[in-house]
Amino acid sequence: MKLTTLEVISNRQLNPRTYELILSGDIPPVKSGQFADLAVKGWFLKRPFSIADCEGGRITVLYKAIGGGTREMAGWKKGDTTDALVCIGEGFDTSACLKPLLVGGGIGAAPLYLLAKEFNAMGITPDILLAFRDKEEAYYIDEFKALGNVYLSTDNGSLGYKGNALEALKYYNLEFDRYYACGPLPMLKAFAEYSRQGQLSLEARMGCGFGACMGCSIKTKGGPKRVCKEGPVFRADEVIF
């Protein structure tokens, strides 16, 4: 992990509220599931975002404009800079997994992109289940199709199966030796109850992003763990919801 200044290479709108931000700078090697904490001028705390991709000294962040900070980010232009902590946390564990299922809910699909690439590099074409509220919220479908077998669902049926991620998993009859889920807490909880064979990427409001404040400590069977340090990825069977 590292505190550094990143420069905006591009900031592209993908759908009404989702953006793709490409940043360059002095970036250490990234493991999928790790995140970056980006400073936004005028806001006191940095904002945490999964690293969706990493290539040639650049990282990609896929973000949804939901509040003051992300709305401000939507206005970032090429050449703008941000102070950032990069490569935070422990990433996904891809070891000993031959039939992965990647499950993204809404903006939670972001870290799965880099994860899918990692599986590709291991010679594995993952199944990728992407669940959105509606068609308007969807993004990066083609990009994911280039890396795996994509299955889609929406709450209102405007794209793919009509239903939530877990319902879609059953509908599409998807099998896995391990699933990798990132999305809203209720979705993660539902998956953890459905199967222990998974890894969950969790969110938490963060004070520091590097383990100092205990602001993000969750309860696990192994005692309290910090989303920013021991996480954000946890085994489905260790998290106490």
Binding site: F44, M214, I218
Partner: protein
């Protein structure tokens, strides 16, 4: 340039001490820089038993600071003494301050006593002002009689100097300061966090699971400075100042108000290098302001 100050019989190379709860048990910051530059360290608040603290969310952002409702998460006094102090000792050669929390007098007394034989601890900081623990800290921090009683008991049991950390959430902080001084406190530190709240605009619910939390950061600096000034006037024991310090200028201002040393909290969270950077820029700022010795400026705003 003389940056040294004295605190409770111990000479600090400089007055900058990371504030309790914002620096863990210190050693994790050694990943970022050589923490031996720090004057001392105030350790994460420690209770007798291990505590998980409050459910998430525990953090809410503010325009000029943050709210926390950690609720004194810590591994318990014995583990702190046995494990955390040892880990810290490997990367930090100076003495530190043990910050003690509790919810009954007996808790505090026993927890403080656990540090009696910890050589690396030169003082106890008694947190009687944590707004984040039910039936805890706060009551001791708002009632002068209860506070005095607590201090008397801890003083009996502890072999270390006792510094009492005061709450700003009171009508008259000097009453509390005088009460704990009268009960034998060797120093006071202030301010702990101001009770604050934020509401999630998207859900209309309080952001913190604990509803309200402790507000810290640059937004509290003017209140902290006023209280340090008031308390310095009211008591004879040393005053350690904190609340919103972000720069070397803020350190000087706090010392002018009466602080014998300062603690830096929230700044560490937004910039892991904050304490190092503040210490590094102190000589330049002292030169600019014609200060040759920090000892000499303590309480200067009270003259004339």
């Amino acid at each position: 340039m003389d940056l040294r100050v004295n605190l409770l019989g111990y000479t600090l190379d400089n007055p900058v001490i990371p504030a309790s709860g914002t620096f863990g048990f210190g050693y994790e910051f050694a990943e970022f820089y050589d923490i031996n530059c720090l004057g001392s360290i105030s350790l994460k608040g420690t209770t007798l038993e291990p505590r998980y603290g409050n459910p998430l969310p525990r953090i809410a952002e503010c325009p000029s600071g943050l709210l926390n409702s950690i609720g004194l998460q810590n591994p318990g006094a014995q583990k702190v003494v046995a494990e955390e102090l040892a880990k810290l000792g490997r990367v930090y050669g100076k003495k530190v301050i043990a910050n003690v929390g509790g919810s009954a007098i007996d808790d505090y007394v026993q927890t403080a006593s656990e540090f009696n034989n910890a050589d690396s601890v030169f003082a106890i900081e008694l947190n009687i002002s944590c707004p984040n623990v039910k039936h805890g800290g706060m009551a001791f921090g708002t009632d002068p009689k209860v506070a005095a009683e607590l201090v008397r008991e801890v003083k009996k049991a502890s072999t270390k100097p006792v510094m009492v950390k005061l709450s700003p959430n009171v009508t008259d902080i000097t009453e509390l300061a005088k009460a704990v001084e009268g009960a034998g406190a060797d120093a006071v530190s202030l301010i702990n966090t101001l009770v604050g709240m934020r509401i999630d605009l998207r859900t209309a619910k309080p952001i913190l699971s604990a509803v309200s939390g402790g507000y810290s950061g640059p937004g509290v600096f003017p209140v902290a400075l006023r209280m340090v000034y008031q308390v310095k006037k009211a008591v004879g024991i040393p005053v350690v100042g904190m609340g919103g310090i972000m720069t070397a200028y803020d350190v000087i201002e706090m010392m002018y108000a009466g602080a014998a040393a300062v603690m830096v909290g929230t700044a560490n969270l937004v910039n892991p290098y904050a304490c190092r950077d503040i210490i590094a820029s102190l000589p330049r700022v002292m030169e600019e302001l014609n200060i040759s010795s920090l000892k000499e400026i303590i309480g200067r705003a009270h003259n004339g």
